[in-house]
Symmetry: C2
Subunit: 919 residues, 2 copies
């Protein structure tokens, strides 16, 4: 008898795993338990031990696990004991594998290896180009061919490879990660294919020597790694299934991406936070630091093991003097760098967008390029590499230096032009590239800056995996160097008034310029930290901070950040940021911006209303109210759920069942007394909802074991709408007239699908309705579908008049609510905090309006465009929060619904009753 | 007539400012407008121009402002024109003053000055002590007296001064700021008095040379500055009134506090985020950076101007070699420092708490110390300074060095003990203190570490303004130095295998140790950044990061952070943090922890129910449901509101009115026909709610202008309960029997008051009910209160049976809702994100339970103590978010309520009607 109890508990737990439909499941569970008990003691034991293992796994303690396991083990034979123990120890080991820090270490290690390997390949590629170029120095034309062909081939291959394997791998990746961390599912964005495409494409693209960066793509690669690792490790453990955990891990991965790219753990964490988040959980802070530090450490250790470096140092180590890094009177010059960089950064973003929009607008070009997809990359590469050809124009802009080499020379702590003329160039290899016999070093620098500026803006539009951070960083360094050299020429003996001579260090200016320009383009302050970590010196902290802040202030007031600009170009969903200190935001209320004409469905509506509502609008979720009079908001239902409800009601299965019942009834009438219940049979079944469910459940018991496999990692959720639109095709053509009507009118489903309600992921049990339909289509093949179109239409009309049964429908019972007087500022905060897509406006429980991202965006940007200031649109990072649970809350609704439907029903469960049952 | 329209608009806007009660206010506004129109053209014009100025101010644009002003200016005389212009320009200037960046610059400037001044005074104090001590070197006893008396006097003065002026200034301030940023109002915590007490007390405390720090207090001082500055600037502008803005500014102030204390802007921002926030808005990031950078800049510039420094450099500049900062093989030693620091940090927190708890527990000691409050500081100071007396025990622990001096010597880049014996001490002044003729330098270091460890833990319990960061930092540096010197002694020629000899740099170890120990005590990673900024060198980034992360991992698994420990000691409200990767948190559901027995009131309850509910529990808010059967949650009402409702119902005013009416009726009956409406007069008034309001409004029109002054800065909100408890005292003693009964049973109100619903600040209009009561008490003094106690009791009984009129009651119409299946993890996230105190658990609109901080804390800590891991309790920083508006939502409720009360009422406003009116 005690065993019986165990069995029931086991069954009940299984049921709980997939949500509960009604209390009647308890009855089902008992039946199932009885069935199982009969099917043999042995199986039951193994099944029970499995359950215990799972429980123990959750506790994760070996000692306890053994003790609590004993009483059960005593019953079973010795062989079982051993197997149970083995399984248990295995589980224990695996549970350790599931811990966060192991995941983070693996991620860090993997990313460090990837980063190092990519760097290694890039260096080889670049060396190969140099070798080819150097070997052909007898003939300039051959040299030119070698110089130009090499990058063109590489870029074209990269573009082609990415295009073929995974077009999602194109571009930086930071805008997409920002969108994903806001809670939007981007299709195919975190797959292995994309990973391969991104890594190979990036290596080739950077190996070509084009002005492209590896930072953005590395954020994406790290996220891909995290997602794949998560998927891989979910084979062992249980927690990898959790949605919010995955988001936390993705946030850490972004930090790792930046960290291992620059060997800058702190800067990486900060940069990734600034670039991808709106609200950051300090709780997740350590994850980023831990993984990024480990990754950066391994990345640099690999360099030491490879004998590239003697010990772990910074990537672009500088050797400025420590005693007197800069004079107080040099600060205005640094401020000038900051302000100019701000304008420059805004210009860069604008230019980049302009190029994309120009190509898009010119229909002829666009059509031609769409046909010959690889032509654009090839042309751009050809153009840029022609200009940098060292014996040609490249000689005036240090064209023969790679990006890394130019950065190293720019950060050099020697002064290039003391009196306006280069002096000490002789003994340094690469710095000589900046010196031209006829041309002043200032001219070289200016040419470098101007040419690289538009080249970078152009190159980042090539459809290969590439970032813009590094090119911008180099341009900024060059600009800083220019100012520094000018200062050095102006004050040859330094500015200091006291006796000691401290000459000006132009390299310091380069550091400031690099941080300022990259900060301006990305709208981040943490480039300052990245710069310190890259150079290994923090002595210029105040100038860098001042310049970065000024650059940010200027750039943010002129243009969105590069990533936000790309988000807009790609039309990803976003939420614009409120301006700096725009206090009128505190005065706009929700009632001023909300949509008052809310589409809703009532609890006692019929399928026809549903049909009409679905036809008339294309909102992704619909409000469920008690009645049109009271308007008390009960929850929200996803459109797809309603569509699935409707397709079930009008679907072929039910029709076939109807036909079967009709024929059965006819047969009965033929043979015995005619009790004529065939016509309203279906109607009665609907009225007695409680029993209908249990029949449905039991009638599909063979389909049940399917749902016993562990939940899949929800990272890549299939969009709901897509599944719903699958339905009609799986049924026969003439199946649903009203249904077809509906699906033709369904909104266009793009590749991306917003999770309207953050906490309402599509849990597996809700996929079943569609499965069930398909299964039953196969099962019920024996019944002949002999209805005419007219009959079908009639039948459907009848079906549409029935009241909706919300039993199998997933309802979000607590959608986010605002009130009329909530200020825009607060609404924005809540939307970005919780990653909402829409919120209902209620007044004492009554639904009076709805605010969606669109309205909010309009309200913010409307006022922003008037003022012409600040259009920075960060998106919420935080998807792990919201208002509702991830599982079914059907019971209570059904109770309410039942109460509405049949007020006479005596069995009214009190809430406490049902809750006690569920524990 | 156009003017008429203007007038009405003006009036209407004024009304909007204070929320709207019902549509009838429009009528009132019209009446008021008519009255104003009659009171003279002149006044109306000036009033109108004032309104326009205010509007223009909000736009903040001078050119536009002039143009739009013209048509009105034409009507008024020239003198007015000038005055209007002056006012306008003034307003424009002031509007600029209102911008964030000006506030932040002012804050930064102020704090830099304060920090510099405090440092200056401390240096003078310490020099004075040294001078006294040095001057008396003829007599050891006199020397001892001087050495000991000086700190005792200073500490005693500091303790006394703080005690007398503002006891809130005692201690670090970071725990309190954490609590404040979570949305809890700490009384008297941000006042000018506290500011003075904190600054003076801190200067004296640090001037005494005790092992105390200035970091924590500076966070508090900066917040005080921000609050006071905010208050000051609200005299000019309008936005300083905003609650959420103040929280944003306080967050920035915390960053400034750390930043200007260490001249570490980046580390300051990060440290303040880690220490005070749970969720951080990246939007506010720049504020912190901007203000902290400016502050750090000014702080260092002041040093340059004071000729202390040649240029802006780090506070504790190090000069380690750049080429080969450390060998890869030294990393295990750094890891050891990290792990040991982790244990040390946990021990420090434990020791600190132990001392406090020991003194608290020992009743006798406690009672004695409570009487002689200054004795404990004096005794502790005497004890500590005796031990550090340089000719005494102090000689073995470098006792004569100040904190700053010891830190400078510890970070020195020379090796003290090459072969275990000090070598190069001769030419360095302060380092000599570490060298004792008889004793090894290792012994000195060990003694220093051990003695300073408990001294610091003890000293931070002295009731003066003091932090623990700096002492811990120094101890950590000493420990690092110890390991470093050991390594140097072990490997005299460095570890490197290749030819070149790179000797070990013990100073680098000191840097690592300092970061690791302070990171362990405060549970932060950003001490790493602070260390880089303090030393001006980032070359040891990887060892520092590794050590800090390891130290954090160890310390967080053993003890809460020092600040959280203090929060618990002080019994401030807090929310414990979820463990690192405790995945079972994903499996606990709200239904497992919620309280099912919810106290609620129904919409149609009578005052007696209210009375009973208030008597039976002491929850701060009560749920309002539609009815006991439906249990549909309509909102929540604060306890104080209900108390005020009850006191109004049973208050003297109403009774006097009743008496007056009775006498009037009696008189009437005496004179003319008796129409006997006196008895149910009051009842009718309640039934016709709509009209009752407008009468109340108009009857107190003289009280109206009071509310026209701008809203006060809501930073220091008076707790609601206090106001409510004021009421009975303002009435006469024998006024309310049931009422007195109630207030005796009211919960104990401490100095702090949680804002249960973040978005429901006490907006001014809700203060009026109490005001109104008091005013009318004065007005109605002419009626004689001739009722006997028995009559009063009878009258009260009758009153209690009436239905509650929720019209004047502030209802939060959208309290936060969870559902049963919400996981603990998500609940925690939501609570900390939104700074909630409690949330209702609903199921399709029906209230089924409530979860408060208490339950959540129990659920988290219950499981945590079982596992014995991680009890870090960060509190949400973010108060600027929640679920409801800050203003009245009464209209809708009243409609609903009216509908319930009198279903026959034909006038039913549709939501759209009322909303259109409000625009």
């Amino acid at each position: 008898m005690a065993e019986d109890g165990d069995q029931r508990a086991l069954q009940y737990e299984q049921t709980l795993m997939y949500g509960r439909y009604t209390q009647d499941l308890g009855v089902y569970a008992k039946e199932e338990a009885a069935r199982l008990r009969e099917s043999g003691q042995r199986r039951a034991v193994s099944e029970r031990s499995w359950t215990f293992d799972r429980l123990e796994y959750e506790k994760g303690r070996c000692a306890k696990c053994r003790r609590s396991g004993y009483p059960y083990v005593l019953e079973v034979p010795a062989r079982d004991f051993i197997s149970v123990c083995t399984v248990r120890c295995q589980k224990f080991l695996i549970s350790r594998v599931g811990e966060d820090w192991i995941f983070l270490i693996l991620l860090g290690l993997l990313m460090a290896l990837v980063s190092w390997a990519v760097d290694f390949c890039i260096v080889i590629c670049l060396q190969a180009q140099k070798w080819m170029y150097g070997g052909l120095d007898s003939n300039v034309f051959l040299q030119y061919l070698a110089w130009v062909t090499y990058p063109v081939v590489l870029i074209t291959f990269s573009a082609g490879f990415t295009q073929v394997l995974a077009p999602q791998a194109v571009g930086s990746g930071i805008p997409e990660m920002k969108t994903i961390l806001r809670g939007v599912v981007l299709k195919e964005y975190l797959t292995f294919k994309t990973f391969v495409a991104k890594v190979v494409g990036l290596t080739c693209a950077l190996g070509s020597g084009m002005p492209l960066g590896k930072e953005g793509p590395f954020v994406h690669i790290a996220s891909l790694c995290a997602a794949l690792l998560s998927k891989f490790m979910s084979m062992f453990g249980g927690i990898y299934e959790n949605e919010s955990r995955n988001i936390e891990m993705l946030a850490a991965a972004c930090a790792v991406g930046v960290g291992c790219c620059f060997a800058a753990p702190i800067g990486g964490v900060l940069f990734s936070i600034e670039v991808t988040s709106t609200f950051f959980a300090v709780r997740n802070y350590w994850r980023g630091f831990f993984a990024a530090t480990f990754s950066a450490f391994i990345f640099r250790v690999l360099a030491v093991w490879n004998r590239d470096e003697e010990t772990i140092t910074a990537l672009f180590k500088t050797r400025f003097r420590l005693d007197f890094p800069f004079d107080l009177q040099e600060l205005p010059a640094f401020a000038v760098i900051g302000i100019a960089s701000g304008f420059g950064g805004a210009l860069f973003v604008y230019l980049n967008r302009l190029i994309v929009q120009f190509i898009r607008k010119q229909k002829a070009i666009n059509r031609f390029l769409m046909k010959k997809r690889l032509l654009y990359p090839a042309l751009v590469t050809l153009f840029i590499s022609t200009l940098t050809f060292p014996p040609g124009f490249g000689q005036f802009m240090a064209g023969k230096l790679t990006q890394k080499e130019s950065l190293v020379t720019l950060l050099d702590n020697r002064t290039w032009a003391k009196q306006g003329i280069a002096e000490e160039f002789d003994h340094i290899g690469n710095s000589q590239a900046w010196k031209h016999p006829q041309v002043n070093v200032f001219v070289t620098l200016v040419l470098f800056i101007v040419m690289k500026f538009w080249m970078s803006a152009l190159a980042t539009t090539i459809p290969v995996p590439c970032g813009a951070f590094m090119p911008v960083f180099v341009i900024g360094a060059a600009f800083g160097r220019l100012v520094g050299e000018s200062m050095a020429a102006w004050f040859p003996d330094g500015i200091n008034t006291d006796g000691t001579i401290y000459p000006i260090v132009p390299g310091g200016y380069a550091v400031v310029g690099a941080a300022a320009l990259s900060g301006a383009v990305t709208h981040t302050v943490s480039t300052a930290v990245i710069v310190f970590e890259l150079t290994g010196q923090i002595s210029h902290i105040l100038p860098v901070m001042i310049a970065v802040i000024l650059a940010n202030a200027v750039a943010q007031s002129l243009q969105p950040s590069l990533y936000d600009s790309i988000i807009r170009i790609k039309k990803l969903p976003y939420l614009p940021e409120l301006g700096w200190g725009h206090h009128e935001k505190y005065n706009i209320r929700v009632e001023d911006i909300m949509v008052r004409d809310v589409r809703y469905i009532t609890l006692n509506c019929c399928y026809r209303d549903l049909h009409n509502v679905l036809l008339s609008g294309n909102l992704k979720t619909l409000a469920l109210v008690e009645s049109a009079e009271s308007m008390i908001l009960l929850g929200s239902i996803e459109r797809a759920q309603l569509q699935s409800l409707l397709s079930q009601q009008l679907g072929r299965t039910r029709r076939l069942e109807y036909i079967r019942e009709r024929t059965a009834a006819e047969k009965k009438r033929m043979s015995v007394v005619s009790n004529a219940d065939s016509e309203d049979g279906s109607r009665r079944a609907i009225q007695e909802v409680r029993f209908q469910i249990s029949t449905e459940e039991s009638s599909f018991s063979p389909a049940r074991p399917v749902s016993q496999k562990p939940l899949k990692p929800a990272l890549k959720r299939p969009p709901m709408v897509e599944r719903a639109t699958e339905l009609p095709s799986s049924q026969h053509d003439h199946s649903g007239i009203a249904l077809k009507n509906l699906f033709c009118a369904s909104p266009d489903v793009e590749g991306l699908e917003t999770n309207n309600n953050v906490e309402s992921p599509v849990s597996p049990e809700y996929r079943r309705p569609s499965k069930r339909v398909r299964i039953s289509v196969l099962d019920d093949g024996d019944v002949e579908d002999d209805m005419t179109l007219r009959e079908i239409a009639e039948w459907e009309e009848k079906q549409l008049d029935e009241q909706v049964n919300f039993n199998n429908c997933k309802i979000d019972p607590a959608p986010f609510q605002l009130v009329e007087r909530t200020s825009l500022h607060k609404t924005h905060t809540i939307f970005s905090l919780l990653g909402l897509d829409h919120a209902y406006v209620t007044s004492i429980g009554r639904l009076i309006g709805v605010v969606s991202l669109k309205e909010l965006r309009k309200a913010i940007e409307g006022s922003v465009t008037v003022k012409g200031v600040k259009v920075r649109p960060p998106l919420a990072s935080f998807r792990d929060s919201g208002t509702s649970s991830s599982e079914s809350e059907a019971t209570e609704l059904h109770k309410l619904w039942d109460r509405h439907k049949s007020m006479s029903l005596p069995r009214e469960h009190t809430p406490s009753e049902s809750d006690e049952l569920s524990q």
